[in-house]
């Protein structure tokens, strides 16, 4: 399987630059997810890799070849589209076989390959049906069948699950993951759904406004976001971000927000910075409802409890600022009703610069 390498890739539409010189290395057999809000350039980047959009500048390599000027069909990539792109006049078997027929593959070979792919995807009994007679999930599987039947070097997925309902999406997500494990094809997957990104990716690429904000494994992004954007984008619910003033000197740094005080980790980056404006980032999962060693208590006003089953989301305000915490229910939310305080361990807090939004170095002061 091939490596995909993007070096200083730029995309312009006329005078407007929409992708600003991005660099990315996708390792062979790796599953990389491009994630970001609408208009961040993730689909454009994927389409440039597929050859459906011209690359304005930079070098795109698939394997060892620079493919900037190579036709899509010669890049040995297969793409799964958001709306499946199934031919309505062809049945499932013909749809899966389309790419092979175009390439004039012998009929016997086509029949064998289609049968094999249909078996993998559980489509054998639907081979004679037209796309209109299939459910959303089945159509999605046919679209994937069309992609895998050619045994490409690289799979490209352009938001393939966004037209499915929530339950089916979860199911198909697992199927894609299983399929990747089984086939081991280098895959690049575009989505705006961070849950999809977290569950599928070996590495996630977070994009914003045509730039790559951060590349890393799901847990790296979850635990160590490089800026407030990534912190707010990855995680559900997202990281709480509260603007505060740094107080307490070097020995006991703390964040002061509207009268509420939270102890901060003793970071090297916070030394000699009293009075500095910072953003305190706390994951809802890192907040405790019971006191723990070294945790600072924070008074809250509980607005709403959203019960999720084993967990509950506590929508609170801290000195008037919205703050979300996640708590285990242990079968009941009754014990959460009168909650007046939450506890935060300093080592689980991420501190960002209020002006740049960049995370402050996590190195502890000696």
């Amino acid at each position: 399987m091939s490596r995909v390498s993007l070096q200083n890739i730029v995309k312009c539409y006329g005078a407007v630059e929409v992708v600003h010189g991005i660099d990315l290395e996708v390792q062979p057999k790796e599953f990389v997810v491009l994630v970001g809000p609408s208009g961040c350039g993730k689909s454009t980047t994927l389409r440039m890799i597929a050859g459906l959009e011209e690359i304005s500048d930079g070098a795109l390599r698939i394997g060892e070849r620079v493919v900037n000027n190579i036709a899509p069909k010669d890049r040995d990539v297969a793409m799964v589209f958001q709306n499946y792109a199934l031919y309505p006049h062809l049945n499932v078997s013909e749809n899966i076989a389309f790419g092979l027929r175009i390439r004039k593959t012998p009929k016997a070979e086509i029949a064998g390959t289609v049968a094999e792919v249909a078996e993998i995807l559980g489509l054998t009994e639907y081979l004679d049906r037209r796309p209109a007679d299939l459910s959303g999930g089945q159509r999605q599987r046919v679209a994937m069948g069309r992609a895998i039947v050619r045994h490409p070097e690289v799979f490209l997925f352009d938001e393939p699950l966004s037209n499915l309902d929530a339950k089916l999406r979860t199911q198909m997500r697992a199927e894609i993951k299983r399929l990747h494990k089984r086939l081991g094809v280098t895959s690049i997957y575009v989505t705006h759904d961070q849950v999809e990104a977290m569950t599928l990716a070996d590495r996630i690429v977070v994009m914003r406004d045509g730039y790559i904000e951060q590349v890393g494994t799901p847990m790296e992004l979850f635990n160590n976001p490089v800026n407030t954007f990534v912190a707010g984008f990855i995680g559900s619910p997202p990281m709480n971000q509260i603007t505060a003033d740094l107080i307490g000197g070097d020995d006991a740094p703390a964040a002061m927000m509207n009268g509420a005080k939270i102890a901060l980790p003793k970071l090297e980056a916070l030394r000699n910075s009293e009075g500095r404006k910072i953003v305190v980032g706390v994951r809802p999962e890192h907040i405790s409802i019971a006191p723990t060693d070294g945790a600072s208590a924070m008074s809250i006003d509980l607005d709403l409890i959203e019960t999720l089953g084993s967990e509950a989301l506590l929508h609170t305000t801290v000195s008037g600022v919205p703050f979300v915490a996640k708590a285990e229910t242990h079968g009941s939310v009754a014990h959460l009703d009168d909650l007046g305080q939450l506890y935060i361990r300093p080592d689980l807090i991420r501190v960002f610069d209020a002006d740049t939004g960049m995370v402050l170095d996590q190195k502890l002061a000696s």
Partner: protein
């Protein structure tokens, strides 16, 4: 109490009756009251249909009467199928039927695919300026009166000063009297019809092509399809329902050969190949004053057209699952 009909629309029943007890007229009244604005918009078309297409049907009975304008439709005596017998014993009418079928059939075979080809070609043009210019040029003849089109054709094929004969003469041949030679009538007529209407007719197909999901093409590009393969395997199959609908409509109008264009281009010398049912009706009815015989010929024309469109629709429905109704 309310009732939800098949379309999911809630029908409010009259005072004390449940929806199940309402008569058809009461239900109609309720629907008319509820959606009166929509029916008001429909009214002009219905009035037009009644006045210009249904009311004249009353006059069709003269095809079975010995009609006299002095006695009127009601006063004229019934003669049964006498006029039809007269028509089918008339060589000119048989010739008109033969010509109508020949011209219609050739027009259908030659003329029907042209707008489809034009639409596909327009769709393939990348340069927008060239595309729009080409479209304007081919749409233009549709907006020109048939009289002017016929004038242009007559001038172009004129033996003395026409561009075609000027060219023939320049090549050292004798000029050809195209418009007086029966064997040239059909090619000139069909060619003129295509020139006049093909461009405009292509709009329907162009709209159908515009409705094809662009990701089908993108997917085919990634799969390695060439432009030709995309036309054959995506564009044409995708617009096939539109092609079938247009074909049914065209078959329904098959006998309605462009009457005014034939009147403008034909002359007694070319009647042999040019005289169609409609021109025969015109000469018999309007010029010859035989309204009853002309009505019989017109009725025959309409019945055949009706049978044709029903048959075409049934065939289309059976084999392609696409039909007008």
């Amino acid at each position: 109490m309310t009732d939800v009909n098949k379309t999911g629309v809630v029908v409010q029943p009259l005072a004390s009756k449940t929806a199940g007890q309402l008569t058809r007229w009461e239900r109609l009244l309720i629907i008319l009251k509820r959606d009166w604005q929509l029916y008001l918009l429909l009214a002009p078309t219905i009035i037009w249909l009644l006045v210009f297409l249904y009311k004249p049907m009353y006059g069709l009975q003269i095809a079975f009467k010995d009609y006299s304008i002095f006695r009127g439709i009601v006063g004229s005596p019934w003669v049964g199928f006498e006029h039809f017998e007269t028509l089918f014993n008339n060589d000119q009418f048989i010739r008109a039927i033969r010509n109508t079928i020949a011209i219609s059939f050739i027009s259908l075979c030659v003329g029907f695919p042209v707008p489809i080809l034009l639409a596909i070609m327009f769709n393939e043009i990348v340069n927008q300026v060239f595309k729009r210019t080409a479209q304007t040029i081919v749409y233009l003849p549709h907006f020109i009166s048939s009289v002017i089109i016929a004038g242009i054709v007559i001038a172009a094929f004129s033996p003395s000063s026409g561009i075609v004969n000027t060219f023939i003469k320049a090549l050292g041949f004798d000029p050809v009297y195209f418009l007086t030679r029966p064997e040239w009538f059909r090619p000139i007529f069909i060619g003129t019809s295509i020139w006049q209407e093909a461009g405009f007719s292509s709009i329907v197909f162009l709209a159908a092509i515009a409705g094809v999901n662009p990701s089908l093409y993108e997917s085919a590009v990634v799969d390695g399809a060439s432009r030709w393969q995309m036309i054959w395997k995506i564009t044409i199959p995708s617009i096939l329902p539109t092609i079938i609908i247009m074909l049914i409509i065209r078959i329904g109008n098959m006998l309605e050969v462009s009457f005014e264009m034939i009147i403008l281009l034909y002359q007694p010398a070319t009647y042999e190949k040019a005289d169609v049912i409609n021109t025969f009706i015109y000469r018999q009815g309007i010029q010859g004053g035989q309204y009853d015989v002309a009505a019989a010929a017109g009725l025959f024309n309409a019945v055949v057209a009706f049978v044709l469109v029903i048959t075409a629709n049934s065939i289309a429905r059976r084999y392609s699952k696409t039909s007008l109704w």
